[in-house]
Symmetry: C2
């Protein structure tokens, strides 16, 4: 039996999900829902349909993987999709997770189905590491480092500056800050500036005042003012040639002591050439898990903290025990 | 409400569990079961009782954490304890897990309770990483490296050699082998010799033939013959002074490609000054999880693959979502 997947929203993540779903032995992407004209969508083969026609797919889809943006799409998209399908999403606005969870929980219960929210790598696999670390080694320091990777939000902020025609921002962890946690030298959380630097590659409009642009960037509150930020002006060709990838990753580090007083360190790291492709793979595996949970009668909103991880894997439980334990 | 824990078997791990349980905000060790005379046991304060008197504790214990040795103790100890309590253990004889699971499953179902088996770090947290890696990044190479750490089994093998009065063996991962996986250069699993070296520190009896001892060690099948093994003779004082710790740890590395063809790497590492204290912390957190699962009606044998990881943490689900996701 093949799990029939819908993909809702076809940007970077939607495509990453389609790729992962096409490669999965037990799942199949059967439709992509989009707000755009479905005929204009170039998928890898999955038929496209309008988000307005979701209802027609009610009996032909087992799980809907919602790939809209966290800023504005998902809060509408997921409750709407929940009327017809169980949903998985990668909502990553950390501060808004409680209210988002509550609204998905309500919509899912009303429809008698379930929503697995905020999966991916952060939130997602990094969250699982933070949880395990705190459960097992409560007396310790924990830090999450991101990068080296492209921050979409910071890149967007650069592009909004007058005179900027293209830009990309890399978040870069400071090796000495990582090493301080790893070695046990650090005893309390470092401040923002000590953990990461920010590297901006900017294409300026002809005749734009580069010094003013640089000044606006490095002094921008919330985004750059609290960091050591470098600004490098490049040509449109260089941006196109050298900065089209979406690499990301990072590490969750935990260092402290057991209750008996012995030192212990836990570290989980990801190094991803394509953030959306890897996130898409996690979302897809979570589609499998949610299908199984819903088949077992689960309803309401869930996070990865509620999911037995064996359910993410296509193998039978006895195989997993024999081969992976 | 406090979760009342029994500890069955009081060796290194039993003590590590007692330490972790004493530090937990929501659990309490109420009894240690031992095969020895309970009056001879020096615990950290938890009363000791004979394993033969388990039944008397039936209504005063919520979960029994079984800390016997995997080689011979657990296969008897756990089914016996299951008659009265849900159990957690850290059974680590990988090849025998399927048959061990089956016998615990039967005993647990018969008693209407549950057994969470093979928790710790390997099997345990490393197994979870292997599972997640395979579920998310199926097209990749995976290697587990152990150490630098003390292997109890290999140390025991040294001590059985004639003329050896004391010994300890460290398993040491080769940095170049780790780096080959991490960088993506390695494309298939390395053979044993290429991944780890073995360092033996041996105290020889007065007048023993050291060359013969060295020869017996490096040529010992299964244990040392397939590795580059160094043998260093030390004094009894040096063994006592420099080699009493039980450090361990290691890394699970996974490197490959997403379905869309982009490179991706996953790495989980532990660096533990005390293997039994850290393992004890995992076993104790799993006691909390099992208590919650059993309260929800779960029966039979389980592994960490079946456990929602949120249940290992003392916090309420809404706190975990707000703070850790
Ligand atoms: N948890 C994690 O670890 C993690 C990691 C990475 C990303 N994420 C989340 O994933 C979300 C989606 O990321 P993304 O990179 O896929 O965003 P994106 O490419 O901007 O796509 C977002 C939406 O915009 C629309 N869209 C995409 N391309 C378009 C185009 N050329 N013209 C017009 N509309 C277009 C699509 O909806 P329609 O098809 O309906 O038009 C799509 O669903 C992010 O907001 C982030 O929150 C989470
Ligand atoms: N999954 C993992 O990651 C992981 C990691 C580490 C260890 N482990 C497992 O944990 C098991 C237990 O390890 P351990 O280091 O606690 O083994 P251990 O110290 O040898 O203890 C094993 C048992 O031997 C008895 N014992 C201990 N000290 C004794 C003494 N001085 N005299 C007589 N008997 C004594 C105790 O039973 P009584 O109190 O009944 O006499 C104890 O339960 C290992 O076999 C291993 O399989 C698993």
């Amino acid at each position: 039996m093949t799990i029939r997947l819908a993909i809702c929203g076809y940007g970077n993540l939607g495509r990453g999900v389609e790729q992962a779903a096409l490669a999965a032995p037990d799942m199949e992407p059967v439709v992509v829902f989009t707000r755009r004209d479905p005929d204009t969508l170039e998928t890898l083969g999955t038929p496209a349909a309008s988000v307005d026609d979701m209802e027609q797919w009610k009996d032909r889809v087992d799980v809907c993987l919602c790939c809209g943006g966290s800023a504005t799409d998902l809060a509408e998209q997921v409750p709407a999709a929940l009327r017809y399908f169980p949903t998985v999403d990668s909502f990553d606005t950390h501060a808004k997770i409680p209210e988002y969870f509550a609204s998905c929980d309500e919509a899912a219960r009303e429809a008698g189905t379930a929503a697995l929210i905020s999966v991916g790598w952060d939130p997602g696999l990094f969250s699982l590491t933070r949880l395990l670390g705190q459960a097992v080694l409560p007396d310790s320091l924990e830090e999450t480092f991101w990068g080296k990777g492209v921050s979409q939000g910071h890149s967007d902020a650069l592009r909004r500056i007058e005179g900027v025609v293209g830009a990309v921002q890399y978040t870069v962890p400071r090796p000495e800050a990582l090493e301080a946690v790893r070695s046990g030298q650090a005893t309390e959380p470092a401040e923002a500036r000590a953990k990461h630097t920010r590297e901006c590659y900017v294409v300026a409009a002809d005749g734009a005042d580069r010094e003013r642009i640089r000044e606006e960037i490095v002094s921008m509150p919330n985004y750059f003012a609290d960091y050591d930020t470098t600004v490098t002006f490049i040509s449109a060709e260089e941006l196109e040639r050298d900065h089209q990838g979406m690499p990301h990753g990072g590490s969750v580090l935990r260092r402290g002591h057991t209750a008996g007083g012995s030192a212990a360190g836990i570290e989980f790291s990801l190094d991803l050439e394509s953030n959306p492709q890897f996130t898409g793979a996690v979302v897809t595996a979570c589609g499998r898990a949610l299908y199984r949970l819903v088949s077992g009668g689960v309803t309401g909103a869930l996070t990865l903290f509620d999911v037995p991880l064996g359910s993410l894997h296509p193998g039978a439980p006895e195989e997993l025990r024999a081969q992976l334990l």
